[in-house]
Amino acid sequence: MKTETIEVLKDRSSQIWEKGKDQKLACDRKSLAGSVTQRACAFCGSRVVLYPIADALHIVHGPIGCAAYNWDIRGALSSGPQLHRNSFSTDLAEKEVVFGGEKKLEASLLELIEYYKPRAAFVYSTCIVGLIGDDVEAICKSVGRKTGIDVIPVDSPGFKGTKKSGYQAACEAAFRLVGTGSTVGISKYSINLLGEFNIAGEAWMIREYFEKIGIQVVSTITGDGRVNDLRRCHGATLNLVQCSGSMTHLAKLLKDHYDIPFKRVSFFGFEDTARSLYTTVEYFNDPELTLRAEKLIHEEIAKYSAELKKYKKLLKGKKAALYVGGAFKAFSLVLALRNLGMKTVLAGTQTGSVEDYEQLKDICDEGTVIVDDSNPLELAKFVLEKDVDLFIGGVKERPIAFKLGVAFCDHNHERKTPLSGFEGMLHFAREVANSTLSPIWQFAPRRSQFNKSFSVPETISKT
């Protein structure tokens, strides 16, 4: 099956739209059984959201695979403990599948807690744990009593759904710690930063902005996370939610239980970063803060503008496709790319909702194709049809882009440079330029004059 012959799956046609055409949106659907979906599962969602809590023990209760595939695959940096980067698993074997894994889980937890002395422990349930009937909650309680630390079950069997349902379970688990610590010393100008995972050190950059403005960051959840920060995060005045897909649920819990309002923010690109900072200071309504924010934003933009212009000149008119996990990231990317003079011609997410897609449609240009829960064939089809210069996506999309001879930028968890904030925009521009302008694409078949004119003389090909 080659890309030129690809047709969109019939059942999927309502999950693909083109801006400018009046179509009904369908999303938030379960992936078709038998499809090559790019989506993962609930366990994956829980695991990636909680794992940056660096001084906690994270143990996967199940057969070995779930722990192996998730082992240190995201560059969520910690400034202190590195415990989260190990892979712990009960490595369930046949015996436990028959007789239950409770004993093994308890023994594992006791051993690990004694050895590593973590601040808390998270226990992730995988698909078969529910089926074999382990009472994980009870084991956690009992181990918690014996060891004196919080041992928290994360209800994340893979079959529960997509990553989204895993995010929810992760939020529930994290929330169990909230409210158990002292809020002494927390300023009235204080925030929690939710859905910031400190990939490549991004949380540190954003934290610095707030500190310069005079706003205390009580906790980043969960990037460079600490158990004690979570315990006292209910003392913050305002919650900022960055990765909305993963953390809105926790923000809602904090609102319901502690009356802390939350705002959706994004620190990707000049525009969104500035807007997010202004939104925050506006909330506190202190002219001092506003002044400092203005100053910071002006200074930062001035610092990077000249170099950004250089990249804009180089990238003007290039066409981009993006396929990312959550919708909010897609919004930011469309704007940031526009800032670089680039046009988004294909935008898609794994888990967007109807409102998300309406908003995405609003900010996209006419003719942009929008896809929900896509697959390699579809993505390849549109990349070629739209003659894309750059693909932005994650690990599964990278080799597809390269196979097609299209530049690629990782805006997912495997990215290696911080893309947040003002400085991050420069990094982003550099990454985009590094790939888009690479001399390699002149050799890629679809661009190559060499390949087109390259034919072997018959005399040679016969010998």
Partner: protein
């Protein structure tokens, strides 16, 4: 990252810390990708499928396609029959493969889905188009390891596909263990060089190391064909490379179609490659070509050139059993001393083989199956070594203990060479030797005091 690891070794019964293995389904998926026009299908939650695809992609840097039954809460209660039937229906109508190779997951195993029955129902119900095939392997994640899953899928090729027409052909079956596409290519090169007709199953070369064509091919024009799988039953011999990975398949084929099987080590290093070449030569009833002898001679020459640097060096190895066993033999042949060799995969045979290989050079070798990298690290803290050989996950140990480190096996997620250059054969052995000595020399060049830096090594 591993600064929390202490030298004091704890006997752990209950848990796994930093595993040296992963689960069965990914091996089955990899084996299936080596069949032309085959769609691997993961019968379980969609996360499994996504994980395996991502993990394979990180190692091979290639798109990896597979479908999933997308289990939901309902399926986990009522069974996955409906999911698999819908899947087969969708897969054939949408992706149009020649074959669907179903593997199970822990979830569908615990539920107890009867896959052969479901396949039969689908076939009888006309859900499988004429001329297309559905096969399956049981790959419970809570038994064995990823290598077991690979083995089970290769066995499924035999069980479902091999036929004997009654007429024996002058063809040899070669079952490779779980090796990279570059290695599959090397196996074919050696067999072609010696001049023998063969069927390599599976064969992932040109599937997971495709050139940039500007097109996305869901099924690259490569891999073992269905006709070849059928014809395996008419071959006069099967050569299996890697006892854990392919013994079962070779035995099943012997039983089913009376094709005698010979299982040997993966041709990693000098002796194991000699054995493979010898087996091919005998089967072909031909002389070993002069140029191949020269290639072997160049390896021996390189080993002698470098022997002063390898001799007596202590090595720690970890990875998959077939790989580690063959590599242990090779480092012994290089004059090195295996100090510890571990695998995450269970099975006492591994420990026996390592001890046997090391009996003259190090009878006290620490050989452990069903172990993990945490244990390996603790052991090294107590018994310092000069070199670490293993997959990408070894890098933390190497960094912590400041060890020269040679990457080998699966997965390698932070280097690119394994995609292009084989580990197997004489050339593969030369490359391994180059990597070992490079690792030694790079460390020396970096760390020697200025007045001791050697220009000539």
């Amino acid at each position: 990252m591993l600064d929390g690891t202490t030298a004091e070794i704890r006997e752990r019964k209950a848990l796994r810390v930093n595993p040296a293995k992963t689960c069965q389904p990914i091996g089955a998926m990899y084996a299936s990708l080596g069949i032309r026009g085959c769609m691997p299908h993961s019968h379980g939650s969609q996360g499994c499928c996504a994980y395996h695809r991502s993990h394979l992609t990180r190692h091979y840097k290639e798109p990896v396609v597979a479908t999933t039954s997308s289990f939901t809460e309902g399926a986990s209660v009522f069974g996955g029959l409906a999911n698999l039937q819908t899947s087969l229906d969708n897969i054939f109508s949408i992706y149009d493969p020649e074959m669907v190779a179903v593997h199970t997951t822990c979830l569908s195993e615990v539920i107890g889905d009867d896959i052969p029955m479901i396949i039969k129902k689908a076939t009888d119900g006309g859900k499988v188009p004429e001329g297309k095939v559905v096969i399956h392997a049981n790959t419970p994640s809570f038994q064995g390891s990823h290598v077991t899953g690979y083995a089970n899928m290769v066995t499924a090729f035999v069980n479902y596909m091999a036929e004997s027409s009654g007429e024996t052909k002058n063809t040899v079956n070669i079952f490779p263990g779980w090796v990279d596409p570059s290695d599959m290519r090397e196996i074919k090169r050696l067999a072609e060089w010696i001049g023998i007709d063969f069927i390599l199953a599976p064969d992932t070369s040109d599937v997971l190391d495709t050139p940039q064509t500007g097109e996305y091919m869901m099924y690259p024009d490569a891999g073992t064909t269905i006709d070849e799988l059928k014809a395996m039953g008419d071959s006069f011999l099967t050569i299996g490379l890697g006892p854990l990975s392919v013994t079962d398949a070779a035995e099943k084929l012997e039983k089913k179609c009376k094709v005698p099987g010979k299982v040997m080590d993966l041709p990693i290093g000098l002796k194991a490659t000699d054995a493979f070449v010898d087996a091919l030569r005998l089967a072909a009833e031909k002389e070993v070509p002069e140029d191949l002898k020269k290639e072997r001679g160049r390896l021996i020459d390189m080993i002698s050139d470098m022997s002063q640097y390898t001799y007596d060096k202590k090595v720690a190895l970890f990875g998959d059993p077939d790989h580690v066993v063959a590599m242990t033999q090779f480092v012994v042949d290089l004059g090195m001393i295996p100090a510890i060799a571990i695998t995450g995969t269970p099975g006492k045979a591994f420990e026996r083989r390592i001890k046997e290989i090391c009996k003259d050079v190090n009878p006290d070798v620490e050989a452990r199956a069903f172990s993990d990298i945490h244990f390996l690290h603790q052991w090294i803290k107590n018994h310092p070594v000069d070199l670490l050989i293993g997959n990408t996950y070894g890098k933390f140990v190497a960094k912590e203990e400041n060890l020269p480190f040679v990457r080998f096996g699966f997965p390698i997620m932070d280097r690119v060479g394994h995609r292009a250059f084989p580990l197997l054969g004489y050339t593969g052995a030369m490359r391994t030797l180059e990597k070992i000595t490079d690792a030694f020399f790079d460390k020396r060049d970096r760390e020697d005091p200025d007045h001791e830096v050697e220009l000539i090594l």
